[in-house]
């Protein structure tokens, strides 16, 4: 999952990523980003995903940009890629480029 070199952080989200817990995902993302290393977000095991979940990731992306690091969304599960596709944002997902 990593062709990016040394300074690499992994974070994996699993289960539901919805309005009920999106806030905590945002906090988790921020904590990782604040380590100032590039981040890979593993979305393999996200089962439910809604707009709030999407916004949490988008906020993370934007925060990463602000901190001048790279945040990649990797290995999106089916529900996640469906949402990104509906919003016309599939190119934000790494898998999109790979496949």
């Amino acid at each position: 999952m990593s062709d990016i070199g040394v300074e690499q952080e992994e974070i994996a989200f699993e289960g539901d990523m919805t309005i009920y817990n999106a806030e905590s995902f945002k906090q988790d993302l921020f904590a990782v980003i604040e380590k100032k290393k590039n981040v890979n977000v593993d979305l393999t095991d996200v089962s439910e995903f809604d707009t709030a979940g999407l916004q949490a990731l988008l906020i993370g992306k934007s925060y990463a940009l602000e901190n001048e690091i790279e945040l990649k969304l990797c290995a999106a599960s089916e529900p996640v890629s469906e949402v990104f596709k509906l919003y016309g944002m599939s190119e934000l997902l790494e898998s999109h480029h790979e496949s």
């Binding site: 995902f25 707009t51 916004q55």
Partner: protein, 743 residues
């Protein structure tokens, strides 16, 4: 509230609105300029459509939409209402009812209904369409010119619908996920392109919360659906969110307006529109040019100044893009209005009212019991406070009963339409006059009086009122008059149906009655009695059976229905002047004036209006009665029934017995009782289910002493007497003969 009951609520709301609509339309016939009435019609159509949309009743929305549009242009004064148009609207109203019922019942429209829909809408457009164009040309030359303007500048080349949505911050929390809209739209057509905007207001990443909605969408949708259908996707969010829907090949100016109203920077939006394919780059350049031009152009009086044009565009925009907003506002107003009117009237389940009336009845009884005890104790101050209490309780009872009272006007108003339709069917000009619409009576009575009235009204129009030629020949005005009149008269309500027709044909009726054996040949009857013959079963004077009268429902059924409500029918008629049918009904079915009688230790209540007279049973008659079960009362056979035997009461009666002569449906019978206890106002309490099959008993009541008294079912008893003990009737001899045959 589950969906089912919500839909039922919608149905009943629609019925009310349609009635309002009909009334307004009928009034418009006399007062075509009245804008309040036009508004009322429009509002009804609008609300039916709006609420129908919420339930996703597409057929209702589609049909009502066209009607609403036509009404809207009438409202805008684009053309005037005339009787031809009213006739079409009335048929449209009826069709709406059918369409709504289909929708609520979950039925798809049959081909037949669809065809009617199309025919009616075509008829409407034929009346309104042409005139709209003519008007438009006359008044708004500016807009016409714009439409004719160079194609490139005015229209885009985009084949897709362009949807622009800015969600409110609370959208997610309100359960309105933009995803569901995207999914819904995907079902309506092909989403060509979505550009999602995120956090365009530039909130700080630390502060921003993922559960606020920061999403904006610019969507290119290729779809064959109409605007209405696409709007429906936004039904639930349009009040809080900024929604723009631009049709394929929308005018450039609509894009300009949209860009102006979006929160983001104009240039940025422009770029987005280009990137999602809504506008081409050259179109966008045109937009920017036009915008700068319009904002810098000095205002002149010239008719084509840019400033003026913007104004015109704004007006037009109202019709197009901001429709959702306008509709939302209108709906909001509607809701506020209905809240206001809710303050004036409350809908209550009639069962609750019945329960209240019942309780109050109990209280009256308990009060009477307490009063009795107070008197027994002889404590003056207690007696006095009890009498105050009794008075209050009686007032409460009266107002509780009044809660069930409704004005008869609503029932009467239905006949406006009936008279209009029937008179055009018959080719007669008949005017309906309603008097006393505000007269109140019990809701149950109102519900049940509708059918008999309908029959009487149709009858009067069909048989009573003559054709215009006959009328002019008779020196009467060519139009016939029909009057419905209601008023209170000593504890009952009187409803009159009066026409100014030819009156009843006395001789024809008599002839027929003799032919049918209802009256014997030599009998002498007063005019009044002859007229009453039309209420006899199997009697119809109609020489020709029309589609109105050939329904197998005669006047006898009308009479029976009214008597079932403890009402009376009478008739007055004068040849050449007209006929008046008078219905007298009790105000309420919950209380009757009763006549209290005693047999042994039991009390019975006989409805007072059925008591004809009371006579003492002499010793001689007593013996006669024992033998035959009938006596000769003033040379008339009076069949008798001994309540003591009928109700199986043990013991012998004391010294004297009395006969209460009751009359029902023209038949008299005598009930033998021990004691006459006088008038008694009775709160009727229904019998329990077990007793419902019981013959001869219609209900019960509780006396002040706490004793239960049974209310006698006089019609039932009289029938029983007539079957077992012979019959007597006001129309005597023939029947007298019959009764002697029995014995």
């Amino acid at each position: 509230m589950n969906l089912d009951s919500a839909q039922q609520g919608y149905l009943s709301e629609c019925h009310e609105l349609l009635i309002e609509m009909e009334n307004a339309l009928l009034q418009l016939e006399d007062d075509p300029e009245n804008s309040d009435l036009i508004n009322a019609v429009f509002r009804a159509a609008h609300t039916i459509k709006g609420t129908g949309g919420v339930f996703g009743f597409d057929d209702v929305v589609a049909f009502t939409h066209v009607v609403e549009n036509a009404l809207d242009s009438i409202r805008a004064g684009e053309f005037k209402i005339n009787s031809e148009l009213i006739a079409v609207f009335l048929s449209l109203r009826d069709q709406m009812e059918i369409v709504v019922e289909h929708a609520v019942n979950g039925e798809t429209l049959s081909g037949e209904v669809k065809r009617q829909n199309d025919d009616l809408l075509a008829a409407l457009l034929a009346l309104t369409g042409g005139e709209v164009e003519a008007e438009a040309q006359a008044s708004e030359s500016e807009i016409v010119e714009e439409d004719d303007g160079d194609e490139d500048g005015s229209f885009t080349v985009n084949d897709n619908w362009h949807l622009s949505i800015r969600f409110s911050k609370d959208a997610l929390r309100d359960g309105m996920d933009p995803l569901s809209i995207l999914r819904y739209l995907a079902g309506m057509g092909d989403i060509k392109q979505v550009v999602a905007l995120f956090n365009e207001s530039g909130e700080d990443n630390i502060d921003i919360s993922p559960i606020d909605c920061h999403i904006g969408l610019e969507i290119e949708l290729f779809s064959g659906e109409d605007k209405e259908a696409i709007e429906s996707a936004f039904e639930f969010i349009k009040e809080d969110c900024l929604v723009h829907i631009l049709p394929p090949r929308a005018k450039i100016k609509h894009y300009i307006d949209m860009i102006n109203s979006l929160p983001e920077e104009d240039k940025k939006i422009g770029d987005i529109l280009v990137s999602c394919g809504a506008l081409t780059q050259s179109e966008l350049d045109g937009v920017i040019d036009e915008q700068t031009e319009s904002s810098f152009a000095p205002e002149t009086d010239g008719e084509k100044s840019a400033g003026n044009r913007m104004l015109g565009e704004l007006v037009e925009e109202k019709g197009m893009i901001q429709k959702e907003v306008v509709e939302a506002a209108a709906e909001k107003q509607q809701r506020v209005r209905s809240l206001n009117s809710a303050a004036k009237t409350i809908r209550v389940d009639s069962e609750k009212l019945d329960a209240l009336v019942n309780l109050v009845g109990e209280m009256v009884i308990a009060g009477a019991g307490t009063d009795l005890i107070a008197r027994k104790l002889g404590d003056d101050s207690l007696v006095e406070s009890m009498s105050v209490m009794s008075r209050l309780v009686e007032e409460i009872r009266d107002s509780a009963l009044r809660l069930r009272m409704v004005q008869i006007g609503e029932t009467f108003n239905r006949f406006n339409r009936v008279v209009r339709d029937v008179s055009s069917d018959l080719g007669k000009d008949i005017r309906l006059d309603i008097v006393g619409a505000e007269t109140e009576l019990d809701k149950t009575v109102v519900e049940k009086i509708g059918d008999p009235l309908m029959h009487l009204v149709r009858n009067a129009m069909d048989h009573g009122i003559e054709s215009a030629e006959e009328r002019t020949a008779a020196g009467k005005p060519a139009y016939g008059s029909l009057q419905l009149n209601a008023y209170h008269d000593s504890g009952s309500i009187v409803i009159e149906v009066e026409d100014d027709g030819a009156g009843l044909k006395r001789d024809a009726i008599l002839e027929k009655a003799i032919a049918k054996g209802i009256v014997s040949n030599g009998q002498v009857l007063s005019d009044q009695e002859i007229y009453r013959l039309i209420f006899e079963p199997g009697f119809s004077t109609a020489e020709q059976v029309t589609n109105l009268s050939g329904r197998g429902v005669g006047m006898d059924v009308v009479k029976k229905n009214i008597e079932a409500l403890r009402g009376l029918v009478d008739i007055e008629s004068e040849a050449g002047v007209g006929t008046k049918i008078i219905i007298r009904m009790p105000l309420t079915l919950a209380i009757i004036d009763g006549f209290l009688v005693g047999v042994g230790h039991s009390s019975y209540v006989i409805p007072l209006d059925m008591v004809f007279e009371c006579v003492e049973l002499s010793d001689a008659e007593r013996i006669e009665a024992r033998q035959h079960n009938y006596i000769n009362l003033r040379d008339e056979v009076l069949p008798l029934m001994r309540l003591r035997e009928s109700f199986n009461i043990k013991g012998e009666s004391g010294g004297r017995e009395n006969i209460v002569v009751v009359q029902c449906g023209g038949i008299k019978a005598g009930l033998i009782v021990d004691e006459l206890r006088g008038e008694f106002q009775t709160v009727i309490k229904p019998l329990g289910r077990i007793f419902q099959g019981l013959k001869g008993v219609s209900g019960s009541t509780i006396l002040g002493s706490g004793e239960v008294a049974v209310i006698l079912d006089v019609p039932g008893l009289v029938k029983q007497v007539a079957e077992t003990g012979g019959r007597a009737s006001t129309i005597g001899p023939a029947l007298l003969h019959e009764s002697s045959v029995v014995h």
